[in-house]
Structures are given as C-alpha cells and as structure tokens.
Amino acid sequence: MIPAAFEYVRAHSIDEAIAHLQQHGGDARVLAGGQSLIPAMRFRLARPAVLVDINSVRDLSYLRASDGVLEIGATSRDSDVERAGWIGDRRWSLIHDVSRVVADPVVRQMGTVVGSLCHNDPSGDWTTAALASRAEVVVRGKAGARTVPIDEFLVDSFTTAVGEGEMAVAARFPKPDDRTAGSYQKIERKVGDFATAAAAVQISLNADGTVRAAGIALSAAGPCALRVDEAERLLVGREPRDETIRAAADAASRRSAPQADLRGGVDYKKHLAGVLVARGLRQALARLGARA
C-alpha cells in the first residue's frame, strides 16, 4: 500500500532537525533508517503529517569509543556495527551477536541502532541488548542534551522518554572490562522475523571466578524489553555453577509475560525464556574460558 500523504523535510544539522520537530510538535516524526516507520506508514498504522529526515545530518554516523563508553550515532546502521573492526573482541560479544540477527542483512544496511531503541518494539533486539548492557540514550531538545538510562528510556510499547520536539542523538554502551562477555540468543521462525523469544546476557567475572556483574534481559516477553532483576541478583557474588544458572533461568521463565500469537503460546514462550537465558549464560562463560 501507499502511505498517506505527508510533508518531507531534510535536516542537515541536529539544530535544524530539532527546530523542525519543535515547529511541528506531535505531528512530526524523525525518519532514520525507515525500516520500521515506512512499513508502518504503508499499512497506515502510522500517519505522521511531517517526516524529518536525519540521514543527511552531519556527524551523526559514527561509532566512537572514548571514556570507557562506546557511543553509536543516530544514523549509524546495524551493518556498521556488524562490520566494525573491533567487534570480534569478546567484550563486545553481546552487541556483535545482536548485529547479526536483527532483521535481515539488507534491512540492517538501513536500519539504525538508535532508531530501534526509539521504536521500542516489544520484540526488538537492540532494546533487549541495551538493557543487559546497561546502555544510555542521549536525547536532545531545545534546552540541550540529557542522558537517559535505558531502563527509564523504554517507557512502554512503542513509547520512549523522547518527548515532543526532541530526538535521540546517540546510544552509549559502557565499555566492558576484559573479564566480560555476553551472548544474544534468539529463536525466530525464519531470518528477518521478530523473535519468538530472545534473551540478552552479559556477565563480568572477578579474578576468583565469582560473578561481579550480570545483565539479563528478555525480548518478546512483555510490553517492552524486560530486565530480569531477580536473575541478575542471583548471579552476582556467586560462582556461575549449574545450579545458579538453572535458578537464573527459572527466574527468567517466571518473569516472562509473553502474549500468545502465531509464533507460539504463552507456556512455550515462557519455557523458551528460561532455556535461552541458560544458553546465553553458558555461551558467555565459554567465551570467557570459564566452565559452568
């Protein structure tokens, strides 16, 4: 189908984009990769009156590691992350895994990491990884920039902390130390499908092999990506042995609150949440050379 008519403006700077967004308020939407917005407009699920295209904004396409943070600019594509030279380092294994399973390889050449966070699909992959990594989003408005922790950024299905007249300019992922690894586990019906269930895991070990920090999150398990705090608490301070992994997996199953749909029923998806958290923990530990 053809989208409803709209007005198109192309911004060349962040200030220009924000001026357009301020002027049009709730009628305007940012156009980033367009890989969620354009399909939604074709189905007339979205009918924005104005699109502010940020793809020509200078200095928004970058992956920058500094001050212990990896910053991903708002027009960096999923494929930029997938192809980055440093991505093979096990510290980045969670976001590397995600960059290879979001959507399909062509969609990834347009779709952006920040756009995915802003879209906040209940079955999104980047949102889930951002929770497990304890990422932040930099939001700019007329008054300047604020940095929003991901738990506050993801408000509800398709709703974020980005207000009217504002835009997200970057996502910030804390740089993991060298005793950190992660894993993204996703069950999909076919390449390019949203998750039936998925789990993001990131784990940091102390020198004595006990867990220093853990990030565990689920996709397709509620109104938006879900942190499993109980599983994180269970892991921290303990040696990541089999019984602890099983307890964390059980906590994930209990916490998961999926909807039944063509991809599967509630019980099946809750079961998958536990299986995927356990698999993710085992793979992250294997990447660290540690045995569960």
């Binding site: 053809i2 354009i38 399909p39 062509v106 969609v107 050449q109 347009m110 390019g192």
Partner: protein
C-alpha cells in the same frame, strides 16, 4: 517536490509526492521496470537496489525523496553495453535463476555484498542473501553463481579464460 537522482549514471529530474516509494519512482516515473515488487511487507528482497555504490536497500522501504542527490544502481545498470556483468554471467552459467522474479534483487544484494567482502565463503553468501527470497531455485545455484562472480571479479583475467 522536485528531486534529482542519478540512476545507473544517468541524471533524472522529476517532481514526486513525498509518499512515493523509490521502487514506484524507478518503475513508473523513470521507466526502469527491472526492479520488481514481490511483497507488501519489506520481506522478500525482490526490490533491492544499490544506493551510493555499496549499500543494498529495499526500494519498497525508502521514499524517492530520500534518494534526492544520491546514486542508484539497478539491474539495468549492471551490464556494460552488450557485456554482462560478471554476476549476471555467473547466474547464467550456474543456472542461478528459473522464473527470474527474485533475480534483480539477488544480483544487487550480491553486488553490495561483494563490495564489502570480495572473497566470501559459501556461508557468508548464504547469510548475506538471507533477506532475499527465491521460490524456484533452492538457493544452491545462486550461491554457486555468487561464488563464480567473486572469482571473476577477484581475478579479472579469468573472465576470458
């Protein structure tokens, strides 16, 4: 809205509605009907074109106005006069197509893939083409075709051998 787009090296200036999808612009406004439409859900990859040299894009999931000032390559722009592009020749040689409906998208996706990865493994090719659906070939010969083209492009002298 007036836009200037370079398609296969030729300049096109047209007046389009912002809601015009790039694929419809190519087919209906510019008469370049080699780019196909196979679905309504951004899922099939039939419509893939290459934007600015090395980015494969589903032209059903981009507005024509976004292409203003950019370079688009479509299947019509692969051959050099009467000489098929190595990818086209390889699809011919290896029976990489049957009905041909998916082929323009396969060719352009593979074109961008080889720009980034000139010596792909079979697994790289399968992963790279995972967003392109083919209902006929079973993919086997498409992988062989891309592999042959990678060889030809990597060793230009082999093309005549």
């Amino acid at each position: 809205m007036k836009i200037h787009v370079t398609i296969n090296g030729a300049a096109y200036e047209r007046d389009v509605e912002p809601r015009t999808l790039l694929v419809h612009f190519l087919r209906d406004d510019c008469g370049q009907t080699g780019t196909h439409v196979g679905c309504d859900t951004s899922s099939c990859g039939c419509c893939v074109v290459v934007v600015d040299g090395d980015r494969a894009v589903k032209s059903c999931t981009m507005f024509a106005v976004q292409a203003d000032g950019r370079e688009i390559r479509t299947v019509e722009g692969l051959a050099d006069g009467g000489t098929l592009h190595p990818l086209q020749q390889a699809f011919w040689d290896q029976h990489g197509l049957q009905c041909g409906y998916c082929t323009p998208g396969m060719l352009l996706t593979a074109y961008a893939l080889l720009k980034h990865n000139p010596a792909p493994t079979d697994a790289d090719i399968r992963e790279g083409l995972a967003g392109n659906l083919c209902r006929c070939t079973g993919y086997q010969n498409i992988v062989k075709s891309v592999q042959q083209a990678a060889g030809t492009l990597g060793h230009p002298s082999a093309a005549t051998a």
